[in-house]
């Protein structure tokens, strides 16, 4: 009897131990699978006039994340990690951006943040540097030596703003007068300084170089002032996408017949306000081609991307965003892919090792072509990923943009840098003057 009681007790102890072991293993498995998801952030204007550079980027990033997750996750150091994105609307303001950065890091432990940059980059970099979180800006002018984890360049700003004077010089050697404007915020001032330096280096007479208030609602007086200087080219530099539409409308209404050039022109919006023939007549030029452009070739990553985008976000789909694909839909994902590639090269998500691996790479594959880490002479640190820069013009027959040229930046810059940097310094916009 006593023996039976003892064996019963032994069985109960054994069963309890087995349950504890099973529970521990299960818990361990859960913890392990939780570790296998890497969160990334999207901290940009999702509303307001700057939203044109932010909101569409969510779609491109999500397509990349879905692709990676469908393959079982991102293969880093022999293990696969699922990706998940969290977004925060910073409304292009520094204080909101800092709030968003803290929320993304503290609540979601993000390792990488897609952003537009400018004032939000200035506001968030001390915190994100301390936390060692990658912040991928669209605007390379945000790069500085004291922001080691801030990387940029996938979006070709401001290299496109520097190469457009070259493009128009090659195509229209007889033209002389260059006018440029943008809003009076951080990104407008810095990018415009680099464009003015490049226009001068390319032999243009810069006849108008002013900023308008970011609160401007009526662009008729701005355009009248520009046209009073009789420009051959009106460049809109890094003007907010919504404002680009309104300025081009005024250029059309006030009878400008020269060349319109800008960092980004959203064709679909602009064609609501002006005829496509006018856009072709003015050779409206920017650097955000469409991915359905035959120039990419077949098959191509770009054409696959646009098919996938249409299937996920096009008309009649569950994720219908009620607009056509824009150049910004793929703009943010360039740097997300570079970061993922860096993690794979490094075999870890350690930011220092990722940077080291990217800098050591002779060629980094990007959506726009092979890139290198560059920029020490411009930003004091080689944190700019520099792929080739496409230049596109609006065509009336398809009411769309088509690639006209593809430039490599580095060699051109080496031959012009003294003049350009001198102008940027005169305008007080070199990285060490902006601290």
């Amino acid at each position: 009897m006593k023996k039976e009681r003892l064996s019963g007790l032994f069985l109960r102890i054994l069963l309890s131990m087995a349950l504890i072991v099973v529970f521990s293993v299960t818990s361990g498995t859960n913890a392990q699978s939780a570790e296998k998801t890497i969160n990334i952030g999207f901290l940009a204007a999702l509303s307001g006039p700057d939203a044109g550079w932010g909101l569409p980027g969510l779609t491109g990033n999500q397509i990349f994340i879905d692709r990676v997750n469908a393959e079982g996750g991102l293969l880093v150091g022999g293990k696969r990690y699922k990706l998940k994105m969290y977004a925060f609307d910073d409304e292009a303001t520094g204080s909101k951006a800092l709030q968003g950065a803290k929320q993304l890091v503290l609540e979601h432990d993000v390792k990488f943040i897609s952003a537009i940059g400018g004032n939000p980059a200035d506001a968030t970099h001390p915190y994100l540097t301390k936390k060692k979180v990658f912040y991928a800006t669209l605007i390379s002018t945000d790069i500085m030596p004291d922001r080691p984890y801030l990387i940029g360049g996938g979006d070709v700003t401001p290299r496109i703003d520097m190469l457009r004077p070259l493009y128009h010089r090659i195509n229209n050697p007889e033209l002389k007068r260059w006018a440029v404007t943008s809003q009076d915020d951080t990104i407008g001032k810095t990018c415009q300084a680099w464009e003015v330096g490049s226009a001068i280096a390319e032999g243009w007479d810069v006849v108008y170089d002013k900023h308008f208030s970011g609160e401007t609602e009526d662009f008729a007086p701005v355009v009248t002032a520009i046209l009073a200087t009789k420009p051959d080219v009106v460049s809109l530099n890094l003007t907010y996408p919504s404002y680009v539409t309104l300025i081009i409308e005024q250029l059309y209404l006030q009878g400008f017949k020269g060349i319109i050039s800008g960092n980004y022109i959203d064709t679909e919006s602009v064609l609501q306000k002006v005829p496509a023939e006018y856009m072709e007549l003015t050779r409206s030029t920017n650097s955000f081609p469409l991915f359905d452009d035959p120039w990419w070739g077949e098959p191509s990553w770009q054409h696959e991307f646009i098919k996938e985008w249409n299937a996920k976000y096009g008309p009649g789909t569950p994720g219908d965003v009620h607009r056509k694909i824009t150049g910004i839909d793929w703009d943010h994902v360039i740097m997300l892919k570079v970061w993922a590639h860096g993690a794979q090269l490094a075999g870890t998500f350690d930011p220092d090792k990722i940077l080291e691996a990217l800098r050591a790479a002779k060629s980094i594959p990007t959506i726009l072509g092979p890139a290198v880490m560059y920029g020490k002479e411009m930003w004091g640190i080689d944190n700019m990923v520099s792929p080739p820069v496409p230049i596109a013009e609006v065509k009336a027959d398809c009411k769309c943009k088509r690639i006209q040229a593809h430039f490599k930046f580095e060699q051109w810059f080496e031959s012009r840098k003294d003049t350009i940097i001198k102008v940027v310094k005169e305008k007080g916009q070199f990285w060490d003057q902006r601290k």
């Binding site: 999702l46 509303s47 307001g48 006039p49 939203a51 044109g52 909101l55 609307d89 009526d218 008729a220 007086p221 009248t224 046209l227 009073a228 919504s242 539409t245 409308e249 005024q250 059309y252 209404l253 006030q254 009878g255 679909e268 919006s269 609501q272 306000k273 002006v274 005829p275 607009r323």
Partner: protein, 188 residues
């Protein structure tokens, strides 16, 4: 300054002045004549724009009809505001002002909820092209605002409901609207 630039600048100013004057006439009518300080005045304009957006850009109604449709819609909103905010706070301008500050936030949030935040709405220009007026190029749509503002200003300046109300209609005003409280913004 060249003559063309000068004329264009004058034309821009007349158009901008006309836009501001349409807003100002509304404010003057509400505050100056009826003694209602409507903090949500700007939101009334915003909603008027959204009504045009819905009827013209989304429903495909002709632009003039969409604009005409906005008038009774916003007038109805004005009547509701008078009935439920200004009438209960009559005689206390500050109370009406603060209550409509709340209305401001409600209308802004409602617009964001209904039509979404994000991009500027894509609205096709109803009248593409410009008119050459004495050497100034003005968009046809912008030209329309000038006579519209003139009509409103004329109405305000000459009618009983407009500034005339302060004189021949003064007895009506007194019988319908009690004077503001002592110490309120209007009595200082």
């Amino acid at each position: 300054m060249e003559l063309t630039t000068f004329v264009q600048t004058i034309a821009n100013s007349v158009v901008a002045g006309s836009i501001y004057s349409t807003v100002a006439v509304g404010l003057a009518l509400a505050f100056g004549v009826m003694q209602m300080a409507n903090h949500a005045h700007g939101e009334f304009f915003m909603l008027g724009s959204y009504v045009v957006y819905v009827f013209y850009a989304l429903a495909g109604m002709p632009f003039p009809l969409a604009v005409l449709a906005a008038i009774p819609t916003i007038a109805a909103l004005g009547l509701l505001t008078e009935r439920f905010i200004f009438r209960p706070t009559r005689g206390n301008v500050m109370a009406g002002f603060m209550a409509t500050a709340g209305l401001t936030w409600i209308l802004q949030t409602a617009a964001g909820r209904i039509w979404g935040l994000g991009f500027m709405k894509m609205i096709p220009t109803p009248y593409m092209g410009s008119a050459n007026i004495a050497g100034a190029q003005i968009g046809l749509q912008r030209v329309l605002i000038v006579p519209a503002a003139g009509l409103l200003l004329g109405f305000y300046g000459s009618s009983c409901i407009g500034s005339g109300w302060a004189r021949p209609c003064a007895p009506v005003l007194k019988t319908r609207m009690p004077l503001p409280c002592k110490g309120s913004a209007l009595t200082k």
